[in-house]
Amino acid sequence: MTEQKTAPKLKDAISKLGPLLALALICIGLGIATKGNFFSSTNVFNLLRQVPIVALMSVGMLCVILLGGIDLSAGSLLAISTGVTAVLMKKFFTADTVFNAVILIVICLVVGTVAGMLNGLLLTKLHLPHPFIATLGTKNMYRGITLVIMGSASIAGFPKGTLVIGTAEPFGIPLSFILTMVVFVLMHVFLSNSPIGRKIYSFGGNAEAARLAGINTDRVQVICYSLSGFFCALAGVVYIGRLNSAVPLASQEGDLDAIASCIIGGASFLGGKGNVWGTLIGAFMITVIRNGCNLMGVSSDLQLIVIGAIIIVAVFVDVVRSRMEANAKRLAVAKASAAA
């Protein structure tokens, strides 16, 4: 009895460790290719500073992908929330006080959440046929609005307090990284153990069955798109800290990186399948490859090719692995019945 229970758990752990192993191999490979530079303490801390923005956007994207949806506007959500915050800062909150710092962070988060919520409302209230369309529209609109209000120029001069999340390094560890870890733990509990989390997976698995079971499916969708907006804005707060300014063309590749992290991390594009830890590994993978390529002086053009290939390889490995698992189970039955 106990044996039966532990065996699948062990297998589970191994299958979950697979992507982690791949990440480790890539790191070792980059370590060798850069003659150890990759593992220098400076670079490792650089990595920890680079991961949070991708990771935070990815965890929001995961909520949407679990629905079977997609949020193409993630990068623009980051831009508009930081952009609006910067413009309001210039107008009303230039003084370097704690109050201003906090209010600006709150503004940023609220703008992102509301803009994300709008995606959800477009989808559910206007009955646009697929989130691809709603978020493709807002992707352009949000970016355009950002460029207009910022006059196409970056804005600097935030209160010091606003920059803390992106700059502080207690005990030598970037605060943004600690924040990211806390967010992932909370989101793990939220998705796997809260009623709304269950509803998200249910909707992604079979939207009609969820609706007929009395789940308010519109609300679940709006919540997920709002979460995506919220986490893009949180990534935006980190972004402002790291650059000490808001940039209208920030995070143009952000949405695709976030989608890639989820997919590399094993989330299904059809919805209903995926988890935060896979997504975190996916985010690390993308960051590590970018970072390694930069160390080796690989041009950004070539980086695109590498990242594209990694996405395809990662999903392919996942496909092969689940096929092999099914086959192994089949052979186990054959063996058992032959013995009996």
């Binding site: 997976y201 249910s202 079979n206 007929l212 079971a213 089949r330 039955v333």
Partner: protein, 519 residues
């Protein structure tokens, strides 16, 4: 070992013994197939004779679908041999099976709704004139084939505009076009109306005359007896019996299927009739429902009979708030309630087991546990989070109560058999502790044993003073389980018949369903 000459001798010998007139076209020998967790086929043998209809019957999970997939080359057996015309063949993929002369009409039709009849018939096997498709020739051949099969249609018609019977004929036509000599029909009548079934039987007769053999897989015993020449029963992936239809009786067939004899297919218990639980007044939905009014009582099963498309499911969906409606009021225990979405209905203690189990009832890749709690996610909480231990406890109870056969609570529900999936859906709704249960085709596509367990659940519910509304297309089920029957036609209620009145019989219900009046 597998000397073909020896095989032929053996077959001829047997033909003489059993007096079979027709030569064997296809033979499966000692087929064994393993799947994750189960032995799907266990030393299964099966022989089909030319120009005959061979009924294949067995409970859900008996291995019929897997056997069909071996025929069609979708699954390859792990052990065993396949012979066509006495020659051993390897059906390593669907193409090989097709080339060997095996055609299949699946329960779920593979018709592309947006394309016309010709495009569907010739899908991927277009007749060509040079590099282009020769539509003139294809249209001509298409209308010939459809005419021959007894469903003359304009080959230019888009398939979405055609009934399921015609669409099914297109599938049969596809097999004819690929020169199939053996056609497998998997539950071919499950979504057809009575007249469409009759037409199907005519088509089958015609195919027989052409010397085509048919494997007819069905749950409906009446149909098996009506159209088959031989009957093979499977159970637990094993061969149980094969005999000519004349030597088989219904009781014998059922006992072969379930491995025990069944005294009564409908264990109906009459409970005391209680207060009015649900009243529907003037329910309207333009073009679909026409002034539907009725009452349902505690302690009773109210059956809804009628032909396919009579508006029974639509009535239920409108009451439950699953579809919008154009008017009408719903009263529960004499109180008017506002129901505009399923959540409202559930809040008012209604439950709705839909006819489409996979599409609307279950999340197939989610676990048994999560499916059992799909309608009660918000109820059992520990603070902000789910009360997992309580969920598991209720889940274990559900498994015991409804005899759900599943390895664990965490098994994906999609890997269970149809009957067990249905029990999960029932568990999901009973867990909501509703007062009014709508069961839409509750036993469609599930085996005899599971059917009886569903009927026991209905008995339990009415005994506890709940109210059950049951939509069913099977008259024996309506007569067997209902306390009262409402007969519908074209979105209108035609008759209301009590169990203890003279009209409570098959003929009168059919008469009302066809628009006749009862004296």
């Amino acid at each position: 070992m597998s000397d073909p000459i020896f095989q032929i001798h053996e077959k001829q010998k047997r033909s003489v013994i059993t007096g079979m007139k027709h030569e064997v076209i296809m033979e499966l020998k000692h087929i064994t197939k393993y799947f994750p967790g189960v032995v799907a086929l266990d030393d299964m043998s099966f022989t089909v004779r030319k120009g005959t209809v061979h009924g294949l019957i067995g409970e859900n999970g008996a291995g019929k679908s897997t056997l069909i997939k071996v025929f069609t080359g979708v699954n390859q057996p792990d052990k065993g041999e396949i012979y066509i015309d006495g020659k051993q063949v390897h059906l390593s993929n669907p193409m090989a099976s097709k080339a060997a002369g095996v055609g299949c009409v699946y329960q779920e039709l593979n018709i592309i709704q947006e394309l016309n009849v010709t495009d569907n018939l010739f899908l991927n096997y277009y007749m060509k004139k040079g590099p282009l498709c020769d539509y003139k020739a294809m249209h001509k051949r298409a209308s010939e084939i459809m005419e021959e099969l007894g469903q003359p249609v304009d080959p230019h018609t888009e398939c979405s505009k055609l009934g399921l019977g015609v669409q099914q004929t297109i599938e049969i036509g596809k097999s004819i076009l690929s020169d199939a000599r053996l056609i497998i029909m998997d539950e071919p009548t499950s979504s057809l109306s009575e007249s469409e079934v009759e037409q199907l039987f005519k088509t089958i007769e015609m195919l027989k005359e052409k010397g085509i053999a048919i494997v007819f897989v069905s749950h409906k015993l009446e149909e098996i007896f009506e159209c088959c020449d031989d009957i093979t029963v499977m159970r637990d992936g094993k061969w149980i019996s094969t005999s000519p239809v004349e030597e088989m009786t219904k009781d014998l067939l059922i006992s072969h299927m379930v491995g025990r004899s069944l005294e009564n297919l409908f264990p109906k218990e009459i409970a005391p009739k209680g207060e009015e639980m649900l009243r529907v007044e003037h329910l309207n939905s333009v073009g679909v429902l026409n002034d539907i009014s009725f009452s349902a009582y505690a302690g009773q099963v109210l059956g809804f009979s009628g032909l396919v498309g009579a508006g029974r499911t639509e009535t239920m969906r409108a009451i439950f708030g699953a579809d919008p409606r154009d008017g009408g009021e719903v009263y529960i225990q004499d109180k008017k309630v506002r129901i505009c979405c399923p959540a409202d209905a559930i809040h008012n203690k209604m439950a709705f087991l839909t006819e489409d189990r996979k599409g609307e009832g279950l999340i197939l890749e989610a676990s048994v546990l999560n499916n059992l709690h799909l309608a009660t996610i918000d109820r059992d909480r520990k603070g902000l989070l789910l009360d997992q231990s309580k969920h598991r406890r209720i889940g274990e109870e559900n498994i015991a109560t409804y005899k759900i056969k599943t390895p664990t609570l965490d098994t994906p529900v999609g890997s269970l058999s149809g009957g067990n999936q249905q029990k999960v859906v029932i568990g999901k709704w009973v867990n909501t502790d509703a007062d009014i249960y709508i069961f839409d085709e509750p036993t469609r596509g599930i085996d005899v044993g599971a059917k009886i367990e569903v009927y026991h659940v209905m008995n339990d519910l009415v005994r506890k003073g709940k109210c059950v509304l049951m939509v069913s297309s099977e008259l024996p089920e309506i007569l067997g389980m209902s306390d009262r029957v409402i007969v519908m036609r074209h979105g209108t209620i035609m008759a209301e018949i009590d169990r203890d009145t003279e009209h409570f019989n098959q003929e009168d219900i059919m008469k009302a369903a066809w628009g006749g009046t009862l004296s």
